[in-house]
Subunit: 343 residues, 2 copies
DNA sequence: CTCATAAATTGGAACGATCCACAAACATTG
DNA sequence: CAATGTTTGTGGATCGTTCCAATTTATGAG
C-alpha cells in the first residue's frame, strides 16, 4: 500500500510550494486563480485527502463539536439530534454524536472522548442524574457547552429548553375546560427538572381555577411506556380515580392508554389523557393523543446556533432560550368544545 | 487563557521524560508501577487532556469510525445506530454519526468529511440512489466499508442485512393461511433493493401456493406514512380490491391503516395489513401491527463487529451476513388460527 | 526605465503526540 | 566481581498541516 498523499506531494505535482497549497486549501485568498486551479487539479489527480488532525494541531480553531444525547431510541431526542445536525452542517461544522443511554458514567466517558478529539464545543442533553458541578467544571475549562431540553440544578451554562410550566398549565386548563376536576400527573422521576416544571404547571393551573389538587393523583415513574402503564394502573386501583391525567411525555401517555384499555376503559371517554412533546407516535396512536408540542426540531437548531455563537465569541457568556410550548388537541380527551385537529 | 497542557508539561511535573509519559499513556508496559502512578497523578493535577489528533498523526491506527445513516428520524434506523454504537464503544472505538436524510450529495460530503477526520472505517446505511461504483471506489482506496440494511447494486463490499425475501414470504404464507388470495404489496420505490427482495418474497409465496399474482395490486410509493396512505387509497379505488396487503415497512403499513380507517374500513377485519421491521410503533398502533422482525439492534451490532474485524485484518475481504427475519403476529390481520401475541 | 508598492509565493519553525535506537539502572549468574 | 541479561527510561526525528517573516514577482506612477 502506497504512502498517504500529503500537501507536499500536491505541491510537487503542481510545481508550487506546500505553503501555496495550504493557502488554496484554507481559501485565504492571496493566490492567483490559475495557480489555485493547478493545485486543485493535482489534488484531484492524486486523490488527496485533507488531514484535519494535522491541521488542527497547528490551528486549534476546531470545526468539530460534540452532541451528547441521553436516549436516541426516543424519537423525541432523535428529532432533536436531527435539528442540531441540520444547523451544524449548514455552518460547515461536523458533529460527533454519542448516545449515553441515561448512564452518567457513559456521559463522562463520552465527553472526555470528545475533548480528546478536539471538539470545539458540546451540546449536551444530560442524563437525569447529571451533576451541575461537573458541567460547570467542563465549562470552566473553557469548553463552550449548551444544555438542551433538560436543565441541571446548579449548572451555570447556556440552556435551550421549552416552557414546560406554561405547556403543562395550558394542557391542564384544557382539561378543566372540559369539566375535569380530578386531574392527575403521572410519569417522570422527581429528581428530573423537567418533571418538576411540568408538575408545577399543572398545580398552577389547578390553583388558578380554585381546584384543590389531590397529591395522591400524581405518581412518579420512569419515563417509559412501562412506567406509564404501571403508574396509571396504580392510580386506577385507588378508590378515587382521576378523570384525567397529564403525562410526563408521550411515551408515558401511550403506556397509560394501554393500561386503560387493559382494564376495559376507553382513553378519551372514560379517562382523558394528555401527553407531552408531540412525537410522531402521538399522531399515530388510537385515539390520537392530545399533547403539548415543544417544536423539538427548532429547539435543536437553536441549541446549535447558540453553541456556534458561543464558540465564535469565546466569551463564556451564558444564554438561555425557552421555546414556546403549544397545546395540540387531538382525540384522547373525549368530547370537546374545541375544534379537533383535521389530521 | 493559559496554554494547553501537553505531555511535556506532565513529564516535567513528574520528573520524567516525555517518552515515559507517552509510554504510560499508550499502556505499552515497560514502565515501573510507581513511576506510572506519579505520571498519572501529574496528569490529574494539571488537568491534562490527551490530544488524539496529534497522536494519530504519528500513529495512524485510528480509533474512530464513521456511521452514516440515511434517516435517523425513522426509529428503525435509530435503533440500528444504537446497536452499532453499543458494540463500537464496547470495543473502545468512537463513532462519528451523520444523518444523510436520503440525500446522495450529503452522503458524499459526509463520507469525505469522515475520511478527513481519519476514520478507520465506515458503516454506511446508503441512500436509496447510491451508486455502487462510488462505494467501490471508496473501498478500493483502502477504506474498510460495511453496508448495513440496504445492498447497493454493483457494490462489492461487506454487507449486513436481513433476509427480506424469506421474511416477506413468511408474511405472505401467513395471509394465505388465513384464507386471503388477493394479496397486494405497497410502498417503497422500485429502485430499492430492499423492495425488490421483499416483493420477490411475496411473489414466491404466492406462486408456491398456486395463486396467480395480480400485478395491479402492487403499488410503488415513497417509504413514508403519506406514501402508504396514498398507495392504499389508490388500491381501494380499484374495482377489485385486495383483501390483504404486505407493506414495505411499518411506517408504510401505518399509513395504509390510516387510509383504511379514513374510508370506514377496519384494518384487520376488512383488509389485513402486514408491516415490516417491527419498530416500536408497530406494537403501539391500534390494531397492533403484524409485522416481520429483523432484529435491527442485533444487525447493528453485527455490522459493527464486521467492520472492526475488517479494520483489524486489513485484508479487504468481503463478508456478508444475512440475519433471519421472523414473523410477529399481532392483531392487524383479523381472525386467525395462530395464537395472538400476549402483549 | 526606475522606484515604490502591492500581490503572490516560499522555506522553516511550530503544534503534540509516537516511534526508534540506544543508554542507564538493576538483577542474575558463574 | 566481571560478564551478561533484563527492565526502565531517554533524546531526537517524525507525522501533515498552518503560521510567520521574508522573498520574489507583478503593477503602477512619475
Amino acid at each position: 500500500m502506497s504512502r498517504r498523499v500529503t500537501i507536499v506531494d500536491i505541491a510537487h505535482a503542481a510545481g508550487v510550494s506546500k505553503s501555496t497549497v495550504s493557502l488554496v486549501l484554507t481559501g485565504g485568498g492571496k493566490v492567483k486563480a490559475e495557480t489555485a486551479e493547478a493545485v486543485r487539479a493535482a489534488m484531484r489527480d492524486l486523490g488527496y485527502v485533507y488531514n484535519r488532525g494535522a491541521a488542527s494541531l497547528r490551528n486549534p480553531r476546531s470545526r468539530v463539536v460534540g452532541m451528547v444525547i441521553n436516549d436516541l431510541s426516543n424519537p423525541f431526542f432523535a428529532e432533536l439530534a436531527i435539528g442540531i445536525e441540520r444547523m451544524l452542517r449548514g455552518a460547515g461544522v461536523v458533529p460527533f454524536l454519542a448516545n449515553t443511554g441515561e448512564s452518567l458514567l457513559r456521559q463522562a466517558e463520552v465527553v472526555r472522548s470528545m475533548r480528546e478529539h478536539g471538539a470545539g464545543g458540546i451540546i449536551l442533553c444530560p442524563t437525569a442524574d447529571s451533576d451541575g458541578r461537573e458541567i460547570n467544571a467542563l465549562a470552566g475549562l473553557g469548553m463552550p457547552v449548551v444544555l438542551a431540553i433538560r436543565r441541571v440544578p446548579g449548572a451555570k451554562v447556556s440552556l435551550v429548553a421549552s416552557d414546560n410550566r406554561a405547556g403543562a398549565a395550558a394542557a391542564t386548563r384544557h382539561l378543566l375546560g372540559l369539566g375535569h376536576r380530578r386531574i392527575g400527573f403521572i410519569g417522570g422521576l422527581s429528581r428530573m427538572g423537567v418533571r418538576q416544571d411540568r408538575l408545577a404547571g399543572v398545580m398552577e393551573a389547578l390553583a388558578a381555577a380554585g381546584v384543590t389538587p389531590d397529591r395522591a393523583l400524581s405518581a412518579e415513574a420512569p419515563p417509559t411506556k412501562d412506567g406509564g402503564f404501571d403508574a396509571m394502573s396504580a392510580l386506577l386501583d385507588r378508590a378515587e380515580r382521576p378523570t384525567a391525567v397529564v403525562c410526563f411525555n408521550d411515551v408515558v401517555a401511550i403506556g397509560a392508554m394501554l393500561a386503560l384499555t387493559r382494564r376495559g376503559l376507553a382513553p378519551g371517554d372514560d379517562v382523558a389523557v394528555v401527553g407531552f412533546d408531540d412525537t410522531s407516535e402521538a399522531r399515530h396512536v388510537s385515539p390520537a393523543l392530545t399533547t403539548v408540542s415543544v417544536g423539538v426540531g427548532d429547539l435543536g437548531e437553536r441549541a446549535a446556533q447558540m453553541l456556534l455563537r458561543q464558540i465564535a465569541s469565546g466569551s463564556g457568556a451564558v444564554e438561555t432560550y425557552i421555546g414556546e410550548a403549544r397545546l395540540v388537541v387531538r382525540q384522547s380527551c373525549g368530547p370537546s368544545r374545541t375544534i379537533r385537529e383535521v389530521a
